[in-house]
Amino acid sequence: MNRRQAYEAAQRRRSLTVAALSTGGVLAGLILLVPLAPGWPAVKASFFDATVFAETFPTLLQAFLIDVMIFAWSVPLILALGLAIALARGARAPALFPLRIFGAVYVDVFRGVPVVLTIYLIGFGVPGLGLSRPWNSPYIWGTVALVLTYSAYVAEVLRSGIESVHASQRNAAICLGLSEGDTLRYVILPQAIRRVVPANMNMLVALQKDVALLSFIGPVEILRQAGIYKSLLANFTPYVVAAVIFLLVTVPATRYADYLLNRDRNARS
């Protein structure tokens, strides 16, 4: 070990110690001091009741499967429609001008309207036109509402990604004789999509939370179920249970996504 390495190692040890001490201090403070607060027993009973936790956990976990289901079938639809809208907005041929206008209007409308309104409008409105079961299901039309809204966001993100790919890449592809479609598919989109993965990740986390809005039109998913328990048991612990279940899924999912991104980055340098 040379002098510099020794110095850096010492520095590292010092910062580690400081970080560990301060984190431990804050945690200890929380654990020791909060229970001393005069209102703590009441707060504990309302939010952290172990019996209620155990009693509601299985049902809430089951209700969470509805969230997961809606999320799982929404995501591919959102990505596909978002891509289609992004491509429509980027269409170059003069004949496709109406398509470009449509794309722009679509994005403006669905980004501008609150998700809740879209869910009500599509979830109640479309079936109200006279569809019969099972085609009027709130699951179907609620999903449609989520897909419409989120694909508008994804389309904008993708479009910015497409535009960030330098024109020279396009030229190089065209000069090799690649068609417009192949240029997009093999040259532009792979680069564009890679650039917008982090932004879209955030979008998916937001979607995971907005899935709960479908409860407005009937489905008893986890947050609704927690609300029902809250009324029934006059206790907020079910919401804490819901939060725990959410975190159990979203934290590993985002970490895994980070890992994939890093691995991809490292593989190429």
Binding site: L176, Y186, Q191
Partner: protein, 245 residues
């Protein structure tokens, strides 16, 4: 006189109010190597981009094997695959390995079977001394290596003529040589080539003919010996005087 591969007649091009090419006449025979020299902004790059139809021309005709390829409305893809072009900035596709960069267009455009194609691509890499780098990504290659991969990528389409737009201008000086060597090798193999270049020594050594461009016209053209040793035109003399000083 060998048959003319590419003929330009009265080619004009402006960007808005700004004329860039003001009537270019040029004839390139099969197997010729022509060097375009001239100051930056003299129209060399634009001329190359017009030949492969990246920029549509305003007036004049461009004939490839006697076929007018500048006619508005014709399908350009089949024309472009006969004319290879390499740019100053290599423009490799960064998300693909060197090999994938090379095989993409033949696979998609020429619909070559994958095995034969890979063999052919590997042979190309081998021929130009890049076999060890086939699997690498562009950001793992030096500038000179990237530019050579770009040339291989264009060659893989089996073009009948190659255009080079100042392909050594962005390289560090010590990397220029390997790219020029590749060009020498290509010339030896009989490729028809049109180069825009600032490498006067190279032009002098290998070109069949040198064209000096200035103000959107070819001011003077001839064998390199004549152009470099005894330029007739006063603008050619001034330019060469400045660069060869």
């Amino acid at each position: 006189m060998p048959e003319a591969k590419l003929v330009l007649q009265g080619v004009k091009k402006s960007f808005g109010e700004n004329p860039v090419l003001c009537g270019i006449d040029l004839s390139i025979a099969r197997g010729d190597m022509i060097c375009l020299i001239g100051a930056s902004g003299s129209g060399k790059s634009t001329l190359l981009r017009c030949i492969n139809q990246l920029e549509p021309i305003d007036e004049g005709t461009i004939l490839l094997d006697g076929q007018d390829i500048s006619e508005p409305g014709i399908d350009l893809a089949p024309v472009r695959r006969r004319i290879g072009i390499v740019f100053q900035s290599y423009n490799l596709f960064p998300h693909m390995s060197a090999l994938d960069n090379v095989v993409l267009a033949p696979r998609r455009v020429l619909h070559e079977a994958s095995e034969a194609l890979h063999a052919r691509a590997a042979a190309l890499f081998d021929r130009f001394g890049l076999a060890p780098h086939m699997a690498k990504y562009p950001d793992q290659l030096s500038g000179g290596q990237q530019q050579r991969v770009a040339v291989i990528r264009a060659l893989a389409m089996q073009p009948e003529i190659m255009l080079f737009d100042e392909i050594t201008a962005a390289l560090d000086p010590e990397l220029v040589g390997e790219v020029l060597n590749l060009l020498r090798q290509l010339r030896g193999e009989g490729m028809t080539m049109l180069l825009a270049t600032h490498e006067m020594g190279f032009a002098r050594e290998v070109a069949d003919r040198v064209c000096f461009m200035d103000g959107g016209v070819i001011v003077e053209e001839g064998p390199p010996k004549e152009i470099f040793a005894a330029p007739k035109h006063v603008r050619t003399q001034a330019f060469l005087g400045a660069v060869l000083r």
